[in-house]
């Protein structure tokens, strides 16, 4: 009996040990195989993103380098100063905007003597209007400033400064001072403020990142930087029964708009079209002014004009670019003549107004009919010169090409029929590049925040590669700005915008795997609870027994 009990005891012990091992191996397999498998199969597919670099982009320190070469004609500098030529110097101007954004303008000025060809060009005597600047090919963003002797006849005698349509300017050296260089330096500053970016234009471009308090109203007028724009000219004829309005829009666009757009096409893709809308009325009934027997549209009612018209304008079907609308409104006979009044009650001379980031509207009054003219509809031919003068000015404003205050005694070369001078384009490029980089930084930061916050979003490889490309391009743009390579900086910033937008709006990000936690539990509990409870219980039991036997063995000792 005792023997058999001993045998059963041994068998029991062996059995118990086997059970213990079995339970342990279950636990091991569950931990080693089951857990990783479960983790792997339920994890969302997320490619890695350059989070730290995106975080770096959040703090933007723009270094804008403008290479300026100052060329002195013979006899401009006194002897001791001329001996120092050529030499270089640099000036810096920092504009801290907020803790995360700062702009440092970096002017690299190199002084040199004029080459013989330049000397020849500069010593010419020219007429009143056309000043011949020495031919030169300057890269975008750079400036060349020629300094001529006080007695030179290149410029009219009254002028001390002349700003060309390319990237060059002429300064007349002051006569009768010893330190010519010091005076020239202040003049160079004046010239660069006109021909290159100014603190205001850059601040305007960064308006999204800085509180509005700092700024006036000018900043919100230009369109946001975009890869393309659509310009639509619409003729609104609310009264086709009395007015048969014709406009030679084709010719006007060819003559006036295209030259400007050809210049701007390096900045963005631009397409132009026009339409005529009949029975499209303004949403406001104008007030009759008995004293002038005309109808008045007050400044306070102008905001209500656009919305009803916009429903008829039609959105652009063929692209997603922002649309600049230019409306020419021929008021109905009942309400003509119609004049726009500004806030002070004075009639606006152009009879036009513009709406920031939307477009412009011009009211075109038809000549009152002669007494003998009674047949309707009257044919009206629109004077396109008058109209395009207004629309072009509005177009420049909406593109952010603002008129620059010129220093006194300065002359400005007319840009001829090219519509835009090279330095105006440079100013635009500076602002647009800065704006693009800022946009990319904002887009990528918010994308990264979103992806970090919502862990269920799938990040596919191509989205990740777009993000990487955007970050690289933005960094390249910043670097190029610092080196003064404006053209390549702009191209890089454009690419960065494109990639970041493509990543941000990628439809695959929307395939959000929505598994709320309570539903997860509802599915896991029926499976995991019955499986985990025995494993845990037997582990607890093994532990307790191990502790017991340890206690027993110490007791035995």
């Amino acid at each position: 009996m005792a023997a058999s009990a001993g045998v059963t005891g041994a068998v029991d012990a062996a059995e118990k040990a086997r059970g213990k091992y079995a339970a342990l191996s279950f636990a091991t397999i569950a931990v080693v195989v089951g857990l990783p498998l479960w983790w792997k199969t339920t994890a969302t597919d997320r490619a890695s993103l350059p989070y730290s670099e995106i975080a770096n982009l959040d703090t933007l320190e723009f270094q804008l380098t403008v290479p300026i070469s100052v060329v002195f004609a013979k006899g401009t500098l006194p002897g001791d100063q001329e001996r120092k030529l050529p030499f270089r110097e640099s000036q810096e101007a920092e504009t801290p905007l907020n803790p995360k954004t700062s702009v440092t303008a970096h002017y690299q000025i190199s002084y040199r003597r004029a080459t013989p060809q330049e000397e020849q060009a500069l010593s010419q005597v020219s007429g009143q209007d056309d000043v011949v600047l020495p031919a030169q090919e300057a890269p975008a963003g750079s400036l060349t400033i020629f300094v001529i002797p006080p007695g030179s006849h290149l410029l009219p005698q009254v002028a001390t400064m002349y700003i060309g349509k390319h990237r060059s300017a002429i300064i007349r050296a002051p006569g009768g001072t010893a330190d010519v260089l010091a005076v020239v330096r202040t003049k160079i500053q004046q010239v660069t403020r006109v021909m290159s970016f100014s603190a205001e234009s850059i601040t305007g471009a960064l308006s999204d990142r800085i509180p509005i308090l700092h700024l006036g109203t000018e900043w919100k007028r230009p369109f946001k930087s975009s890869l393309g724009y659509e310009i639509t000219f619409s003729l609104l004829n609310p009264d086709p029964k009395t007015h048969d309005v014709h406009w030679d829009i084709e010719g006007a666009i060819r003559r006036y708009v295209e030259p400007l757009l050809n210049k701007l096409r390096s900045v963005a893709e631009i397409s132009v079209d026009s339409q005529i809308l009949y029975y499209a009325a303004l949403g406001v009934t104008p007030r009759f002014d008995a004293s002038s027997s005309s109808y008045i549209l007050g400044a306070h009612s102008l905001p209500h004009v656009i919305n009803p018209v916009e429903a008829r304008l039609g959105s652009s079907a063929a692209s997603l670019f922002p649309v600049l609308n230019f409306l020419l409104y021929v008021p109905e006979r009942l309400h003509s003549p119609l004049y726009i009044q500004d806030k002070d009650g004075a009639a606006v001379s152009t009879n036009a107004f513009h709406s920031p980031r939307w477009g412009g509207i011009m009211v075109y009054n038809v000549e009152p009919e002669a007494a003998n003219e009674t047949s309707f509809p009257r044919r009206v031919d629109v004077d396109m010169v008058r109209v395009m003068e207004v629309f072009l000015a509005q177009l420049r404003l909406l593109f952010g090409i603002l008129p620059v205050p010129l220093p006194e005694d300065a002359l400005l070369e007319s840009f001829g029929n090219e519509g835009l001078s090279a330095w105006e384009l440079d100013r635009l490029l500076w602002a647009r590049t800065v704006e693009n980089v800022a946009t990319v930084a904002t887009t990528l930061t918010s994308l990264a925040q979103l992806l970090e916050k919502i862990s269920n979003i799938v990040i596919q490889e191509d989205v990740a590669s777009q993000v990487f490309h955007a970050v690289e391009s933005a960094q390249k743009a910043l670097l190029d700005l610092g080196l003064g390579h404006l053209e390549s900086a702009f191209q890089a910033s454009k690419e960065a915008v494109m990639s970041s937008e493509r990543a941000f709006f990628d439809p695959s990000l929307l395939h959000l795997l929505y598994f709320p936690d309570d539903q997860k539990f509802a599915i896991y509990i029926p499976l995991f609870l019955p499986m985990a409870v025995p494993i845990l219980l037997s582990l607890v039991k093994i532990l307790r027994e191990a502790r017991q036997s340890k206690k027993d063995s110490t007791k035995m000792d």
């Binding site: 639509t232 010719g251 063929a318 031919d381 001829g416 029929n417 519509g419 029926p526 025995p534």
Partner: protein
């Protein structure tokens, strides 16, 4: 500003504006035809013609032609575009042959230029943009409901090549048409809805009707008789059938004011033609049955769809029309009550139904009628069936007058699951005075649970089949100049005087698919987990527990209870 002035100063020498001839024109037309059943069909047609080359790149200038559509045509190199949005079904049997029928729901078919490299992508983008323009769900057009018919849809306008690879056709039978589709359609009209016939387009009346169909047709047409250059034509048509019994308290008399609650006061000043036609054909009877007021300015006789018809014509551009009264309110009065107005059945009509029981198999039957007394003619039948109805093409039978009718042309493209639908095109000869029955069996497929619509028990729509035929006319028709003939007669080209083109659509079908219980996935998960857990539990116990024989003790609760009962009965305990 200063600079702009300077620029313009340089360019002040502007040549005088040349008075060029207008290159676009608008014609508008309303056709009011009393239907044999007593209802009234009103068909509006607006035709904008533009003598311009839209395919040209660069700046585009629009006057009467809507910019949105013009941009589409040039961007996607569209050769022809036909879009119709329809609510209700045109009952050919009781309403007669329609001038322009459209299937219930949305129908879109587009011919692309042969310069388009990726037709499928252009088609997808185009349908998405059209969906935005017309506020319709055309964005649901994808490869599962798009087909490329080989014979049924030929270009209606000028076309050199007819390579059907550049054609795409899709129907969304489920689409519901309402005001939000009408408003953008009205906005495309040059006069909007402010003047001309479009004043009558009041949504609340138009949708209080038995049938509403609006369409946009864009096609290139000949610029002149010599046809050396092409022009673009945009036709906007709207057909409404008013239920006169419901609106007129049992009377069949109507007036413009009664049906549209508006009257006409002027023509659209941009239109070069603005006319109202009222169908006053007396159907062979000698004495006149009806009377229209005011007296029509002229009467137009035309042979339309094989019948001679008489129309009273009102020309809104004629100043004499508004001399008498300031507004035009066309009225029609029936002189005698006419109850026994029997309708001669249209020469070609068809119906379709689905038969069978259960949720596994079924049969689609199409009946095509030729009621012409002595002429046989061929008809092209196009069937588009979604992939989830698996057609058994070997069960296709075509029976006419008890005998099998072999189609002379057959094109079948089988479906691919979740990729493309079935396409079946056949050319069938219809003998005179006959009924042809076409049947084909199908099996219903099981869908994945995410593929069901939100209301799966409503059923799934199968788009109507399309019949295209050159129907021989009973009377001889004379050739008419297309520019002069009324618009409603001129969309489909008539080949010669002896036959006319008809395109008919059958009813859309509604098929029930086997629908699962949608809480099923969770139940399945729970059940599987429970089964796994139970199996696992016993397995685990078997492996980890130690078993030993237990000495019999005093027994459990059951034994004690049994013993108490035994004691009470006086039986020895266990």
């Amino acid at each position: 500003m200063e600079q702009a002035k300077a620029l313009l100063g340089l360019l002040l020498l502007v040549p005088a504006l040349a008075a060029e001839p207008l290159r676009d024109s608008l014609r508008e037309e309303l056709l009011l035809s009393p239907l044999p059943s007593g209802d009234l069909a009103a068909t509006f047609q607006f035709r904008t013609r533009w003598d311009s080359d839209l395919q040209r790149e660069g700046v585009s200038h629009y006057r009467l032609f809507p910019k949105a559509l013009g941009q589409l045509i040039s961007k996607y190199s569209v050769r022809e575009l036909h879009l119709s949005l329809t609510q209700g079904f045109w009952r050919t049997r009781s309403w007669g042959q329609p001038y322009l029928q459209a299937p219930a729901g949305a129908e879109l078919w587009v011919w692309f230029q042969d310069s388009v490299a990726d037709v499928d992508k252009a088609w997808k983008d185009l349908s998405n943009i059209l969906s935005g323009i017309f506020c319709a769900s055309l964005n649901f057009i994808d490869s599962t409901n798009t087909v490329t018919p080989t014979a049924s849809f030929k270009p209606l306008g000028l076309a050199n090549a007819t390579d059907h690879h550049f054609l795409r056709y899709a129907v969304l039978p489920r689409e519901v048409v309402c005001t939000e589709n009408l408003t953008p359609w009205k906005k495309l009209l040059p006069c909007s809805s402010k003047a001309g016939l479009a004043v009558l387009l009041k949504a609340e009346r138009l949708f209080h009707s038995s049938y509403h169909s609006q369409a946009v047709h864009i096609r290139p047409i000949c610029r002149d008789g010599a046809c050396l250059t092409s022009s673009w034509e945009l036709r906007q048509t709207l057909t409404v059938v008013f239920d006169s019994f419901a609106t007129g308290q049992g009377k069949k008399d109507w007036s413009l004011f009664k049906i549209f609650s508006r009257t006409l006061t002027e023509a659209c000043p941009l239109a070069s033609q603005s006319k109202i036609y009222v169908d006053i054909s007396s159907k062979g009877q000698e004495n006149e049955l009806l009377e229209v007021t005011p007296a029509p300015q002229s009467v137009h006789e035309a042979s339309v769809q094989g019948n001679r018809r008489t129309y009273a014509v009102y020309d809104l551009l004629d100043p004499g029309l508004f001399n008498v009264s300031r507004s035009l309110n066309v009225q029609l009065k029936w002189k005698r009550p006419q109850d026994s107005l029997d309708l001669a059945a249209p020469v070609l009509h068809a119906q379709r139904y689905v038969s069978g029981y259960g949720l596994q198999t079924g049969e689609i039957s199409t009946l095509v009628y030729n009621t012409h007394p002595y002429r046989a003619f061929p008809v092209l039948l196009l069937e588009t069936v979604p992939w989830y109805l698996r057609l058994y093409i070997h069960t296709l039978t075509i029976i006419t007058k008890g005998k099998e009718n072999k189609p002379s042309y057959i094109h079948y493209q089988p479906a691919q699951d979740r990729r493309r639908p079935h396409l079946l095109e056949m050319l069938i000869q219809l003998p005179a005075n006959s009924v042809t029955k076409i049947t084909i069996q199908f099996e219903r497929a099981l869908l994945k649970w995410t593929e069901y619509t939100p209301d799966p028990n409503h059923g799934f729509y199968v788009s109507p089949s399309v019949l295209s035929a050159l129907v021989p006319s009973i009377i001889a028709m004379k050739e008419e100049d297309e520019e002069l003939s009324p618009l409603f007669a001129s969309l489909f080209p008539s080949s010669d005087g002896s036959s006319y083109f008809v395109r008919l659509y059958t009813e859309p079908l509604l098929v029930n698919l086997p629908t699962p219980d949608f809480s099923m996935p969770y139940n399945v998960i729970c059940l599987t987990c429970t089964v796994v857990a139970v199996c696992y539990g016993s397995f685990y116990n078997l492996l980890t527990r130690t078993f030993h024989v237990e000495e019999p003790s005093r027994g459990g609760l059951a034994k004690r209870l049994a013993n108490i009962i035994r004691k009470m009965r006086g039986v020895p305990p266990l």
